[in-house]
């Protein structure tokens, strides 16, 4: 791997900061990550979208050089995590799935203490902590104990903490899971700013809206395997139609309705509570449904989303 990096800076700029081939992690019999290939370019915002247990966190931990891979190759910042863990971790920022702030310290001390782990001198830690508190909109909470923060604030503090070393890559494992919609939007706004500044982001999520908002490119993972890869728009174009018509006939009638309407759409999915008809023009299909005398209790035409891509690829919903 190392020789790839020998070359002019111009060539370096296009070299991936993360490159995995057949990356695998097993726990005994269980295959958590079953041979995935991925590449992340500098400045890119890359996503892993998948349901619970897909292997997202396991992949993040291997990239973050805290979990040894079972097989395959992995290069992060041009280095092998097996031999250069501390080097890789020095230049990563990690936002774990579960917050692990020091709840007994103040907000500001959390940043300073963490900065020290990177060998940053105390004065520089303090200066940077203040900048990051401004960035995370937590300046007025600087002297408050972490215990007193809301969930969204804790998450922002965790992101600020992950930035203390000015990382080359920021890794976010489900950054907004468990937050209310407003807190999620505040957080996304902060992540956008980082993206604009050219920070490389790697995000896992099981929210399709989050993936659409944050990711330039993503992989859909399920059962430790990559099902598809592309930009959100590409994935939707490839695996779904432009629009979706959602109909509810009542749970007992949905399946029969789907049979009756099968010829109207490019594809039909029957979920427990509704029927999804995939078509370029949802309104037109709805008109035809009505003209057949079928009368859904509710109907909705919407644009296709990554949720539909996931459903198509796996036959299951992302969020149960």
């Amino acid at each position: 791997m190392a020789d790839v990096w020998v070359g002019s800076p111009r060539v370096l700029a296009v070299n991936p900061v993360i490159e995995a081939r057949a990356l695998t992690k097993t726990y005994g019999e269980l295959v958590a990550v079953g041979g995935i290939d991925l590449q992340v370019a500098p400045g890119e915002s890359f996503g892993l979208l998948g349901p619970n247990g897909a292997g997202k966190s396991t992949t993040m931990r291997m990239i973050g050089a805290v979990s040894q891979r079972t097989s395959g190759t992995l290069s992060v910042l041009g280095l092998d995590p097996d031999t250069h863990g501390p080097e890789i971790r020095s230049r990563l920022g990690v936002v774990p799935q579960e917050d692990n702030l020091d709840t007994e310290l103040t907000v500001r001390d959390n940043l300073i203490v963490y900065g020290r782990y990177f060998g940053i001198p105390r004065a520089a830690c303090a200066r940077r902590a203040d900048e990051l508190l401004d960035f995370a909109e937590l300046a007025d909470k600087a002297k408050v104990k972490v215990d007193a923060l809301s969930g969204g604030m804790k998450r922002r503090l965790t992101i600020a903490r992950a930035l203390i070393n000015e990382p080359a890559v920021l890794m976010l494992d489900e950054p907004t899971t468990g937050l209310d919609p407003q807190a999620r939007h505040v957080l996304w706004d902060r992540l956008f700013r980082l993206k604009e500044r050219g920070t490389t982001l790697v995000v896992t999520t099981h929210y399709m809206d989050e993936a659409e908002q944050l990711c330039d490119r993503l992989v859909v993972v399920d059962h430790g395997r990559i099902m598809a890869e592309g930009s959100p728009a590409e994935l939707i174009r490839t695996y779904s139609t432009r629009e979706v018509l959602e109909l509810r006939f009542g749970s007992s009638r949905n399946a029969q309705a789907a049979v009756d309407l099968a010829d109207l759409a490019e594809r039909i999915e029957v979920l427990p509570d509704r029927v999804l008809l995939y078509a370029e023009d949802g309104e037109a299909v709805l008109a035809q449904v009505r003209s057949r005398g079928l009368d859904p209790t509710t109907s909705l035409v919407r644009r296709s989303s990554l949720e539909d891509v996931f459903l198509r690829l796996t036959g299951r919903s992302l969020i149960e």
Binding site: P86, N100, R116, F118
Partner: protein, 286 residues
């Protein structure tokens, strides 16, 4: 913040070279960063540490020196030059117990807190610091707290005239810390292996620490116990550390174990605990 954030790839060095350079300090000093964090956390209960560290020896030395010792009309123990005062006899054992008390405080709940309740070790683990440095850093911080406690003890021991040798009083705290680690490092290894807290630490306190304290020749010579109880003392860091402290204070009576034998046991217990403990940390965090 990062208006000056470094781009992923700079003109001069690659991200790879940056990473190689950035890890130099954490690789060298990582354990000290962990210790710094722990000591900062201890400040939250710094008052308890200071008051306990000074108050406990003060109470023991006053209570035993002025109270209990006055009732004893015949000497309990002898040194190299015949019978010694009761206070001389108990002081080294009390000091070692104080160091072990710190270990009991710091190597139990605090360890589970790091792994499980507040997950602090996982945060450290994602930084350049490595699992063995996390374990080392914890130990450094605890040795710091033990050091404070035993030095406070030592000062009071000298003030109370509770030692036969001032030079011995200077060395006894070092032995007490070794005793603290002989008990503490195996305990650290055990605590780090606990996945679910179901009262194990209360068991350690009641069925390990308390018997070791009571049957380790702390308040009377081990030899006065029936022979079948004496093995408790032989495996007790309290007894070994106390005996070394006594030898330093007033010399060993004829027939006592040589000092090096006690030290060997203490070092073996501490080293064994350390080797296993580090391994448990690495296993759990990787």
């Amino acid at each position: 913040m990062s208006t000056e954030q470094a781009p992923a790839t700079t003109g001069e060095g690659s991200v790879r070279d940056e990473a190689l350079a950035a890890a130099v300090r954490p690789r060298r000093f990582g354990a000290w960063y962990v210790a710094e964090h722990r000591l900062r956390s201890m400040r939250a209960y710094g008052g308890t540490i200071v008051i306990g560290g000074i108050g406990q020896p003060l109470l023991y030395l006053l209570g035993i020196g002025l109270g209990l010792a006055a009732f004893l009309d015949q000497p309990v123990a002898s040194g190299a030059h015949g019978p010694v005062s009761y206070l001389w006899f108990v002081a080294p054992a009390l000091m070692a117990s104080a160091a072990i008390g710190v270990a009991l405080d710091e190597f139990t709940y605090a360890v589970l807190e790091g792994f499980k309740w507040r997950r602090l070790f996982w945060a450290m683990n994602a930084s350049p610091v490595s699992p063995d440095q996390i374990a080392t850093g914890l130990v450094i911080a605890v040795v710091g707290r033990m050091g404070f406690v035993v030095v406070a003890y030592g000062v009071l021991v000298v003030l109370f005239g509770a030692t036969g040798s001032v030079l011995g009083a200077l060395l006894t705290p070092v032995v007490a810390v070794l005793g603290g680690l002989a008990f503490g490092l195996p305990l650290l290894a055990y605590s780090a292996s606990i996945k679910e807290e179901t009262g194990q630490f209360a068991v350690v306190q009641r069925f390990i620490f308390t018997p070791l304290f009571l049957f380790s020749g702390t308040f009377y010579p081990l030899a006065t116990l029936p022979i079948w109880l004496q093995p408790i003392g032989w495996v007790s860091p309290v007894w070994h550390a106390a005996e070394v402290g006594r030898a330093l204070s007033y010399g060993s009576p004829p027939g006592a174990w040589p000092m090096w034998a006690h030290l060997l046991v203490l070092v073996a217990m501490a080293a064994g605990g350390w080797v296993v403990g580090r391994r448990v940390f690495v296993r759990r965090l990787r």
